[in-house]
């Protein structure tokens, strides 16, 4: 007869971090593989530049490795890693803008999209009306049009699946600030996507929308 085993609450990263601290580089290799795509995505969303995103990803992993002794374990390793990547991304932007102040508070003082205006319903499975490259272009232009402070909150919270508290910690924001930005990010994206996805009355108008192709506007 089997006995009930106590369920461990420990996140699998905790053991990997301990192994790295003990000098096991292969454990860090596992952590890098696990999170490199997410870190690249976050860096790309902030810097909006592929080369910078690649550099940020490398620098963030190296910095995290060098500073691993400072990781307290009060938060998840991934949240701590994201915070490093966000700071590296902002530093990279600052360099590109020759020292101009860059922060997560940039451009958030806008009322745009905070109240819905477009109430047209969307077509069923609207993304299927576009081919892959058209859809990717629409999504890219749409999210790039958001203020940076909204965009990163949306990516961490809704795409990456971090909790509100983890997002706040990773970005150095308060929980109410994350909530406020998330709502406005979601509404603005919805409003912008409605231009492409709303139910159309005829095949002709649908063709017109599709024909915008690479020339989509955010």
């Amino acid at each position: 007869m089997s006995t009930i085993q106590p369920i461990s609450e420990e996140h699998p990263d905790v053991a990997l971090v301990e192994r790295v601290r003990a000098g096991d580089l292969s454990a860090y290799d596992t952590l890098v593989r696990k999170y490199e795509r997410q870190l690249f995505r976050i860096a790309q969303h902030i810097t909006q530049n592929r080369e910078d995103a690649e550099d940020v990803m490398q620098d963030a992993f190296l910095k995290a490795y060098e500073k691993l002794d400072q990781f307290q374990g009060n938060s998840k390793f991934y949240t701590w890693l994201v915070r490093i990547a966000v700071n590296e991304s902002l530093m990279r932007l600052r360099k590109r803008r020759t020292g101009k102040l860059v922060s997560m508070d940039e451009d958030v003082q806008t009322d745009e999209g905070s109240v819905p205006r477009d109430f047209a319903d969307w077509a069923p499975n609207p993304e299927q009306n576009f081919n892959q490259s058209e859809l990717a272009e629409i999504l890219k232009k749409t999210i790039q049009g958001l203020p940076q402070g909204f965009r990163v909150v949306f990516v961490l919270r809704d795409v990456d699946g971090l909790s509100t508290e983890e997002t706040a910690e990773a970005l150095g924001l308060s929980v109410p600030a994350v909530k406020s930005r998330l709502l406005r990010a979601r509404l603005q994206l919805r409003e912008r996507l409605s231009r492409y996805f709303k139910r159309t009355t005829s095949a002709a108008s649908q063709a017109q929308v599709s024909a915008k192709g690479n020339g989509v506007e955010a």
Partner: protein, 78 residues
């Protein structure tokens, strides 16, 4: 419940962190307000679309190159 009140808790509705009593009020409101129903449905769909489509792909060869570079730097770092 008014549209403004609904909008104020839209995120909680989407994240399904709503008390049972409020949920009942929301259902009543949505039955009579087509606009709020559309906003809720299309906002949910917005999130789903962005979650399901990776817009910044990292090709395997680039990922491998960066991975090797990261691990090489780390091995020299300590």
């Amino acid at each position: 419940m008014t549209c403004t009140e609904f909008l104020a808790i839209l995120d909680d509705v989407i994240d399904e962190s709503i008390a049972a009593k409020t949920r009942a009020e929301i259902e009543v409101h949505l039955r009579k307000c087509g606009h709020c129903e559309v906003v809720l449905d299309t906002t949910r769909k917005t999130i789903e679309i962005f979650r399901c489509h990776e817009i910044y792909e990292l090709p395997t060869e680039v990922s491998e190159r960066l991975h090797v570079a990261i691990m090489a730097k780390c091995s020299k770092a300590k």
